[in-house]
Symmetry: C2
Subunit: 111 residues, 2 copies
């Protein structure tokens, strides 16, 4: 338990699994069908990692185990990256300003 969220997200298969869970919960087997090249135990272990990272929850109904997204941990990641958001907005602004100054320079040439 208590596994690092970022390392859980490091694997592309697991990221795609989360993608599949955005709109609806899905049974483990259903998720598995999306990855025909991975064996059933492989799928099960990926799901375990996601569980241990707190990224999904499971609900048992009849014979099926339905996985669904848990928002909290993803929100943490979002919070982390928010620190940087201001930064790249600044960089893009700089680029824009640079291009803008160039354009203006050209304009002045012609004027």
């Amino acid at each position: 338990m208590e596994r690092d969220v970022f390392s859980a997200l490091a694997d592309p298969t697991r990221r795609r699994m989360l993608d599949l869970l955005v709109r609806q919960e899905r049974a483990a087997g259903e998720l598995g069908h999306a990855f025909p090249h991975i064996s059933q135990p492989g799928i099960s272990r990926h799901l375990r990692v996601l569980r241990e990272a707190g990224l999904v929850r499971v609900r048992q109904e009849r014979r099926h185990r339905y996985y669904s997204l848990r928002s909290e941990r993803l929100a943490e990641v979002d919070a982390w990256i928010t620190k940087y958001r201001g930064f790249w907005e600044f960089e893009l602004d700089s680029l824009e300003a640079y291009l803008d100054s160039k354009k203006r320079a050209r304009g002045e040439h012609r004027a």
Copy 2:
């Protein structure tokens, strides 16, 4: 080259390095001082991973190599997580609505 951003972010040391670069560029050695338990080559290799993931750029000046943040890739991660943002806002709304309905229920009891 061309290394996966998510796996580069999977290591906590590398995340902290990025944190150190948010406000200013820093020389490799300067970054190293923040991690006294890791040897100089270890630091250098973490920086290489960040470089190969496109998360930082390097600039050589005199004897120093100054690392600074590159926004593009972080913006990609942000774009990825954006798909989920709506989701957890929905979940939080649901929670809020639930608590709200409870409060209202209590209110009705008293009323």
